[in-house]
Symmetry: C2
Amino acid sequence: MDADLLGNWTTQLRKGLLELCVLATLRGERMYGYDLAKRLSGVAGLVTGEGTIYPILSRFKKDGLVETELAESPDGPARKYYRLTPRGRALLGKMLAAWAEVRDGVDRVAGEGQP
Amino acid sequence: MDADLLGNWTTQLRKGLLELCVLATLRGERMYGYDLAKRLSGVAGLVTGEGTIYPILSRFKKDGLVETELAESPDGPARKYYRLTPRGRALLGKMLAAWAEVRDGVDRVAGEGQP
DNA sequence: ACAGCTACCTTGCGTGGCCATATAGTGTGG
DNA sequence: CCACACTATATGGCCACGCAAGGTAGCTGT
């Protein structure tokens, strides 16, 4: 009952943050979806499955934030690598700024009383 | 075009955070909706209007996280004050913990490269 | 009477995360 | 040799939240 409320809420909490983390992860190196899902799933329970990652990457490509590149895999099917475009890099910058602002705002409100 | 993407994203970013801020604001003192909207709208652009606050308060009451109390206002219609229940206080604690975890996780991912 | 502020509430829409599911290539064990 | 497990990509439907817009009503000042 309460677990449901909390679970639902954390799902909502992830909205937007996942996109930010995907973009930020692509900032340094090109990556493919499956690997992204595995890496981010190790971070604070951000990702639950691959079904969450692929739609994000599709949207990013549609919006011109990333570009793709197919490459063979040593073990398994071919991988589709994603790489940031300049546009994606610019948006990431703005998103990081917005995140910092909102994060600090929330911490200010949530932190009053128990510093 | 990019402004739309960013605006849409920040909307998604707020999901869940608003509920957290409302609960956290009620932690110290009882408040009414209109005042809550005004206070939170001054914080990092968290709230855009009262239409966002009232549904949250309704859900909270339905879920037994807050209880209400009508009181006359010195100027204007009666105010409906909201106050945390023990259940709401307990959930707030868990949400604050989850928030801290996710926030740090995101900062770890987003901060790599530009420390 | 009227404008304007306070204060409450509801409806409909857009969006993103999640589950289940589908597809397919590659290697391992019974 | 076939079933299984792992790698890897992709999609459709569901649900909850935030938000703009709209509506109701009380009180004050002109």
